[in-house]
């Protein structure tokens, strides 16, 4: 079957890019230094890639819409607001900004906390549909981003430079310890998604058919939202906001592979995401000489692709 060949090709390309990224210029003398720098970075890229693509895919399923990503819920702007607020309140030299693990924990806790409070109020209401929630997300997202912009105006220009580094996704200075720590929750989330893959497939048929087949749709949506929140919060706090990346990988996967099973789609889009991010990072490091961050490339390529999708009316 054609899908299988494409998948094998993707897997091989992925391995090749990863090997290039890890192995380039390694000699017996320098391998310890290089590996100690490259492995955490690679791990961070893989974790972020898989999280972003899996969460976007599942998000598109539960919203039954192929153009949305979880960033519509305003995570990116909330992350910016949190960072700006921390800088305004305590300054860049304080522990909440300077210490990566503490900063990560604060960002994650606030993001998941706020999202879960929102979901709690939302899902305990009667007669809700998911689009009201998305609309709420859009509104809150623009509130957060306006507040963040206001705070950024107040910040001292020197401190703003520190903040600016956080405004773009980057793998250039990922914290080693942090990467190892977040692997476990992310792998757990991913494991849960893969385990529920068959149930997610049933959601393609719409809420009534899903109920008829014994799937509790609202409960499933709630659980998926929780998992997505955790994954997006962690990956945003780890590498920064990546607006378009989920959209690119998921819709490319759908175009390349004619699968409907989430089990395969999650794995394939994860591999594709790793391939894109690792090669993108390689371009940033070797071709552009660290002159820019990967999120600039992602948003440029992603934005173009998004316009292309709209133009071709593929969504």
């Amino acid at each position: 079957m054609a899908n299988r060949y494409k998948f094998t090709a993707l897997l091989l390309a992925c391995c090749a890019v990863v090997a290039l990224f890890i192995g380039q210029g390694l000699t017996l003398d320098n391998y310890q230094f290089f590996l100690s720098r490259r492995i955490p970075k690679l791990l961070a890229i893989i974790l972020a890639a898989v999280c972003i693509s899996a969460s976007s895919l599942v998000f598109q399923t539960i919203t039954n819409n192929r153009i949305l990503t979880p960033s519509i819920l305003g995570f990116d702007s909330l992350y910016l607001l949190i960072q700006a607020l921390l800088v305004v309140l305590w300054g860049t030299s304080s522990v909440v900004i300077a210490h990566p693990i503490i900063n990560f924990l604060i960002s994650c806790a606030v993001m998941t906390g706020l999202a879960l409070t929102l979901f709690h109020f939302y899902f305990s209401r009667k007669g809700n549909d998911i689009f009201t929630l998305l609309l709420l997300g859009v509104v809150l997202g623009s509130v957060f981003s306006s507040c963040a912009n206001f705070l950024i105006m107040l910040i001292d220009p020197n401190e703003f430079t520190t903040l600016q580094a956080m405004m773009f996704a980057s793998f250039n200075n990922v914290n080693d310890t942090l990467v190892y720590w977040v692997s476990l929750p992310l792998v757990l989330c991913l494991w849960w998604l893969l385990r529920s893959a068959a149930t997610l497939d049933v959601l393609w048929l719409g809420p009534d058919n899903a109920t008829s087949l014994g799937v509790n749709g609202p409960k499933m949506v709630k659980r998926c939202m929780f998992i997505i929140t955790v994954m997006v919060a962690i990956s945003t706090a780890l590498v920064g906001p990546v607006l378009f990346f989920g959209l690119i990988t998921v819709s490319l996967t759908r175009q390349v592979f004619q699968w409907h099973q989430h089990k395969y789609l999650i794995i394939a889009s994860g591999l594709l995401a790793v391939l894109l991010l690792v090669s993108g990072q390689w371009v940033v490091e070797k071709v552009l000489g660290f002159d820019t961050t990967i999120s600039v490339i992602i948003n440029f390529v992603g934005g173009t692709y998004f316009l292309y999708l709209l133009y071709k009316n593929k969504v």
């Binding site: 893959a197 068959a198 049933v202 048929l205 009534d208 008829s212």
Partner: protein
């Protein structure tokens, strides 16, 4: 046996189902008839747990609906509503395979494959099984969805207007399949249907509703009288016996 007793449902200030009681037996096709807005679809979706009831009791195989586990109930009761828009590309066989989900949670066993083949054969879809749904006509697509319900192989089958937008041939084929399900396989088939003559020819029992209330119910012969039909639909009815079938003529 499914028994509904004194079901009520109110949307806003409108009472759409009002103290409706009825029973659906195994081995019989029960057709729910009545004019638009009579509460037929609401009643069917309450009985099949798609809509919550405000008041009343539903017992399925002698267990109250609220005591059933949702996943377990899917092995006993299936339901198909009218609009089935799927914006994902499935082949007919992939769609029908979803009917086995309650039994195998997505990991198909050889027995599941047999049931899928069987359902495809019953609906005459074997030759179309590898076509995608968007390549089919409306009637064939409806047949595919019914095949999914057949593959689910439940004791109770609820269908909301299965003949909607279908031509005569497809309608007759679907009704024949439903009759086989009821008479040969002993299932309780419940349908909401607008075409009185289809209901009269294929159903065993009729439930007639008007403005949320059950007006009359019983065998086809008991319910299908000129006086009761005119009362339900507010237009004159003439009922003729042609062969062994009752045929309603209501074209004024």
């Amino acid at each position: 046996m499914i028994t509904l007793s004194k079901l009520n449902k109110t949307y806003g200030s409108q009472r759409v189902v009002n103290e409706a009681s009825m029973a659906f037996e195994q081995g019989k096709i029960t057709a729910i008839i009545g004019p638009n807005g009579a509460g037929k679809s609401t009643l069917l979706s309450m009985a099949s747990r798609l809509t919550k009831l405000d008041d009343g009791a539903i017992r399925i195989a002698n267990v109250a609906l609220q005591d059933w586990d949702n996943a377990e109930l899917a092995k006993t009761l299936s339901v198909l509503r009218q609009a089935n828009n799927v914006n994902m590309r499935f082949s007919v066989r992939e769609l029908v395979a979803f009917g086995r989900f309650p039994h195998s949670q997505g990991r198909l066993t050889p027995e599941d494959e047999n049931k899928i083949d069987d359902a495809l054969a019953k609906l005459d879809l074997t030759l179309l099984q590898h076509k995608y749904l968007d390549q089919l006509s409306g009637g064939q697509r409806q047949m595919a969805f019914i095949a999914m319900v057949v593959a689910q192989d439940t004791e109770y089958v609820f269908l909301d207007e299965p003949l909607n937008n279908l031509d005569i041939k497809h309608s007759v084929e679907i009704m024949q399949v439903l009759r086989r399900l009821a008479h040969d396989f002993g299932k309780a088939v419940v349908i909401v249907i607008h075409d009185i003559n289809f209901a009269a020819s294929y159903a065993d029992n009729l439930v007639a509703m008007k403005q949320g209330k059950v007006v009359c119910q019983g065998s086809v012969a008991e319910v299908l009288t000129e006086q009761q039909m005119s009362q339900i639909y507010d237009i004159p009815f003439a009922i003729h016996d042609i062969g062994d079938k009752k045929v309603c003529v209501y074209f004024g």
